[in-house]
Symmetry: C2
Subunit: 463 residues, 2 copies
Amino acid sequence: MGAAAFVLTTCASVSVGQVGMDGSDGMDAVDFQILEQSRSGTQGYDIVEGLTTEVGERLAGTEAEARARDWTVAKFKEIGLENVRVEPFTIPGWERGVETAAIISPFPQEMLLTALGGSVATPAGGITSDIVYFPTFEDLEAAPMGGLDGKIVFISGRMEKAPDGAGYGPANRKRQSGATEAGKRGATAVVIRSVGTDSHRFPHTGQMRYADDVAPIPIAALSAPDADQLERILERGETVRMALNIQPRATGDMPSGNVIGEIVGSERPEEIVLIGAHLDSWDLGTGAIDDGAGVGITAGAAQILIEQGLRPKRTIRVVAFGAEEVGLLGGFAYRDRHADDLDKHVLATESDFGAEPPYEVLLGVTEGDAVIREVAAALNLPIGTRGTNGGPDIGPMARRGVPTMRFQQDGTDYFDLHHTPDDTLDKIDPDDIAENVAAFALMAWRAANAETDFRADTPDTDK
Amino acid sequence: MGAAAFVLTTCASVSVGQVGMDGSDGMDAVDFQILEQSRSGTQGYDIVEGLTTEVGERLAGTEAEARARDWTVAKFKEIGLENVRVEPFTIPGWERGVETAAIISPFPQEMLLTALGGSVATPAGGITSDIVYFPTFEDLEAAPMGGLDGKIVFISGRMEKAPDGAGYGPANRKRQSGATEAGKRGATAVVIRSVGTDSHRFPHTGQMRYADDVAPIPIAALSAPDADQLERILERGETVRMALNIQPRATGDMPSGNVIGEIVGSERPEEIVLIGAHLDSWDLGTGAIDDGAGVGITAGAAQILIEQGLRPKRTIRVVAFGAEEVGLLGGFAYRDRHADDLDKHVLATESDFGAEPPYEVLLGVTEGDAVIREVAAALNLPIGTRGTNGGPDIGPMARRGVPTMRFQQDGTDYFDLHHTPDDTLDKIDPDDIAENVAAFALMAWRAANAETDFRADTPDTDK
């Protein structure tokens, strides 16, 4: 699939043009112009370049996220979006602090790790305890209650690579529930092998959750090489003692917000085609692939239409969601604020899987998908067999009946960088992001001009 | 050359066997046995696995390097080396401390960097100053004296990839002399783009030097993505202010040492064939490719001979040099301690370029190189056109006339990892390191059994 996507990127303007000459796919001159301008342009790349350079990391609820909102408001206005505004909401803040770890015995050495988002701190100065090893999260789940009193639990387990990121869900269970399952059994802290597919010395952060009825214990992620090292040390068969000190802190109610801009529809302006991405990032990198790329792709797609002087019949709304990483809070805030007009959202989709080209189109509609299929054909993309909820921030509104679709990007290497310090601009290929801009621009344009009511018979696609 | 080396690795035992059947290359059954046992064995890999797992990082002069010496003494005895001993010496100690940096304006954000080895600290709490940008070290050299008063100098410049690491010397000038050249002109501190070929968010450390007649100023290296980011920020044209705080410290006289073990020769035990590597590493990673691999390759080669019950006519001496990273101090200590018997060293070579397979053989002898050429032919390796000083720790004795040779390994990707936290065991391919063991075992065996006096007419190969 990666190879097919690559061919598409390098040959697309020729092959699509040839298809168009046949007149077989419903494409007209404006459609071709949108693809051509997107592919030859740098609109998406320029936006992610600006956001990651001029703001950098933008952790939800922090002053950096607030600067990112200001930056995005200015950028949306600069590219010609209308009704530019912030819809504010409040989130529980969390910030990282000191984080160190070391093997104390039998082989003294430092280990590189990072606190998971939402984790409580160790006592000041840290803790020192013996490691109890679970090769997988399932092994921990199968362990008897009790028996881990005062121990530091180490949960390993590797994530499989896949174009659609299918390994993420299974690998992520230890991140989301490791502290709860270890805490239930009496553990004092948890370290996990990072949820990721690389072998670089970057720990991967990401949000964790505590169950209401279990006392919270600290949880942090080791880089893959550090997890390998700890496994080798454990294989020697001696008791392994670790010193662990993480000092993240909850910062109370903090501001976040969704930044919105529109191309107002000429005939049915109250009907919304929503294209979105999330503006916040984790604090370790500059959030280039997660999700500055999505902000660039969606705002860049709108910019293409504006620059071509194209005004659709329905309104195209670009949303840069806040606070996605810490629990899809911008997606929920949008759904709640727009509860009364969700029925006017005719289609919604999010870009949040890096900047590699799409290799298939997923449908979250059951009626009137002809337009989406035409766009997929014009992009030389097959229709995938799975459904979609449109993306993480779209999920909450999808569960209230908003029709969705998604361009499935090639995410084979996405989890090499995801939630690490290494998520930086140099990882984005300008040609690849331009191909995504082309896809979003054409889809938004065609959906906003269609007569289709994508809503009819839309199933509950929550996943 | 990488492709040729790869073919060698996968096909070598067959093709060499076939050559041997022709009897055309002077190889005998013992030679083939050495190659076969090396290639099918894990001796080298097991040694670097043990060293990096059970000791980890081992910065020169620290307690960790002392533990590495103890570990190596035990390992040398375990594999059957004779006359195992440490030749101690004293070095000026240096240790890393806090190191943080941030852009203060116009776009506030943290930057990842690390102090260069030997650097002085900033004043406690750090300094804040404007950045003055030099695209290359040569641009700084060309700048007028004065004019940088109180500024933080940023020296960029990219290193080119090459199989033989030819880009390292030119790129390294800013690391070694950046503080001197900036200090001469009044600067208060220096940050450089890391000397490396990757685009990961790892700064590369490495030793720097101060000139005697210039007041020392602190110097640190930014990761490549951070240097890119700083360049993009500078391109915006506004004054860029940086806060920089590095707190390394000189720790006074500290112990180091060279660990030595031998296979004593049966006929001319006083004549030495020396195969060596360096035992110390930088403190950021676990020193797997630099130079745990070399310790594994050379000690593993001796282990192969011992396990086969092979005793050479001359003595094969394995040396694990201390304190290489901080100025080749083990190499100089060895030269000085052995000043009176350097004339008994008939050939010396070092492995210090990772674990990728060799692609050519370099000569530092002018007489009696027939044995070396035979070994190269048996390994299917061409003779390179350049000379060699045998490796960093061999250089000092080479300048006193000790004949040398070197297996030039493929170092195309070596500087992706060199001197970073990412120099860890997972980067070593067991088959590749086994091929290096084969090369060293056969060379040591053949040179130690030869009648050749490699010394005759040995030129001054210092480079």
